[in-house]
Amino acid sequence: MVQLSCSDIQLNFGGVRALSGVSFEVRQGEIFAIIGPNGAGKSSMLNCISGLYHPQLGKVLFEGNDVTNLPPYERTKRGMARSFQNIALFRGMSVIDNLMIGRHLHQSAGLLTGGLYYGPAQAEEIKHREYVEEIIEFLEIQSIRKTIVGTLAYGFQKRVELARALALEPKLLLLDEPMAGMNHEETEDMVRFILETNESRGITIIMIEHDMGVVMDISNTVCVLDFGKKIAGGTPDEVQRDPHVIKAYLGEEDLEEP
């Protein structure tokens, strides 16, 4: 079942064309990777899906509904969550508080009951805290749950960002370079978490990643962008063999060996 489809997306910044005629479909429950050289338009594509940018042409359909012109928070309500390439957390707050904010969408207590922490508000807070604790256990960040985010090592912050996105209870998770800047061990952990998220929670994942080893290992479908155009798409095997992809990554085949 197709969960998300993008058709003929075109995005311009003034005279610069960041994306032109990009189309693809993401099926429910798969891991979908967007790859491409620097400046290929990967993050722009992700921003079009999450609603940070609105393409001039083309449509984004999420579960059959046109969301092209909806603002990000409307899309979040419909079940999209994302993490950012440059970590976007509340640096002065603890891990728990960052995650509890992720639950905000699902909370209904009003100013008065919430402010007084009374009756149903209390029960609701406990319920959400439990949900957050499950994510903490899932991502193995128990030892830092009360630590201020700004003081954490980079690898941990990345993990907390994933946690915050999961706290939204999304159906579709958008990850912008989840492994960037991580060492080998941290990358292995992250891969494990992404796979677990996908398999046990059944969350569809769209990710941008530069680590080709990881992309080819874990994704079901790969979409390759170059200069704002989709140059290939398919299973990792198909994409690896595609002459256009080889050209985009390694240059012309007939070039002299250096």
């Binding site: 805290r129 439990e130 604790e133 499950e134 903490i136 256990e137 193995e140 128990q142 030892s143 749950r145 494990r192 677990e196 398999e199 046990s200």
Partner: protein, 635 residues
Amino acid sequence: MQIDLEKTTFPKLLKQNAERYGEKKSALRRKGLGIWRPFSWRQYYENVRDLALGLHSLGFKSGDKLAIIGNNRPESLFAEIAAQAAGGIALSLYHDATHHEVADAIRRFNVSFVIAEDQEQVDKLLEQKENLTDLRHVIFIEKRGMRNYHDDILTSFAKTEEIGRGVHGESPGLFDKLVDAGKGDDTAIICMTSGTTGEPKGAILTFKNLINMSLALNEADPKTENDEFVSLLPLAWFGEQLMSVASPLVVGYTVNFPEKPDTAMADMREIGPQIMLSPPKVWESIAATVRVRMMDSTRFKKFMFNTLMPIGERYADAVLSGSPPTLTQKIGRFIAHILLFRALKDRLGLSRIRSALTGGASLGSDVFRFFHAIGVNLKQLYGQTEIAGVTCMHRDGGVNGATVGLPLPGTEIRIDESGEILSKSAGLFSGYYGDRGATNLALTADGWLRSGDTGYLDEKGHLTVIDRIGDVLTLADGSRFSAQLIENSLRFSPYISEALVHGGGHSKLVALIGINSRVVGKWAGDNKLSYMTFADLTAKPEVIDLIAGEVSRVNQALPEQARIVRFAIIYKELDADEGELTRTGKMRRDKVLTIYAELIDALHMERDRVRIDTGIEFPDGKIGHIQTTVTIRKV
């Protein structure tokens, strides 16, 4: 409670406790999802019952062995006692054991059932399933990551308990029948010896051995049913078996399991245990942490620490030398307690500690002094796994760094002609599993246990342990000296984590030193010293100077003949996976002496430097390469 040693077993004790305390008292607690979750004695009992019946219906029979591998958690205890209730024998393995070690233990002890904590542990077993012919069932606790595992050998813990619940519904009397068949002389556990000398062996211990030991220890150092204990160390270590399994069943105190190994210290602070038994490594690291943090602290805090610590130390010196502290010392200590020690102990999770014990190896007198200074009444235990752990311990008023205290009630200690310490008690094991030869070597003809240590009893009956028989140094003037004593003093330095002092028939003493990478690394950073790898750090002249300073400080307190003349820093960190340390972090001297023979030779031959070019095999089979030059420094 009256305990009949001939009849009592762990499952029987558990049943009695479940009847006595029911739902009213927590037997176990585990932190999960951020909250401490209790298990009452009744729940403890019911879990054991269901699991035992589940194992029984999977074909676990009397005499079968069940191995448990993973971090400590309530399920580890359920598994152990369930195996015993079903008439079998439990065996705990270190959670960080390599797959070779696991396979080796399973083969040697004919293990047919394994309870594995998670996917990681299951992988170790499945990888070499073909070679493990005795292995019939692997029961995993955590379902996570196990979705795509379909091996017939696998069953989940929850499923096994569910089967057991069904069996209990059909034949309610079965469990009682199984439990009633047990008696005191049945084998309860096979416990691995530490393996500081030679390969680890499996000591066979009966319920009688273990229960007797818990009773004797409780008589010497009373505990109450309202005490709290935090299970921090692997259950494969005998001390943890004694404190987490046997003693709580006898005394009724509560055992707490931390959420994760890396939250253990924070979780311990939340519990504030009254009881703690750890090997010297843990106490040394707590003391080192305090001093390292002080280096980093504000000037005011440093001033307070440097002013008040000597007051505590003077008090400790009085206590440790056996003379009652003077009134001035008492008042001084009280003020220091209010201003500093109270807060410090709270930070360490030791604010309520009453029974603080160290065992498994000797603890340096500097560490003793540190803990007594801040008001932790730390006591040394001495003994061997082969005699259910403990033979001697310090009593109040007789604590001092030199002796290991008085024998426990019911324990006899004797020194033979060669100076070896021999012991005998109701805790004495029935032998090593499948190793008659080793058993015969460990016991004398008249049934005393040989400790392998040399020592003497003083006129008050306190035992002093000098060292392992093979490690006693003969100095130039013919006198004998303990290498351990010097090594312990060296290790008290926050910069030094391992030390091996060697005489080797030569009159001059030399030392191999392992630096503490965290502390020395930080020191290097503070002093704007750049380095690439650990080997590079150990070769920096500044670091060698730093260690030389520490060595001369230790030398000053030693007699002229027992001073270290030359040392070298080991170019890699010692690792249990490479057999250099035991799983509890003790150095295996034989291994280290073999691996670093080149360095030892160079030290004795008074060379200036040694070129090292060596391969190391990592646990995953990859070969690493170390090329470095080790400088030998004269002190």
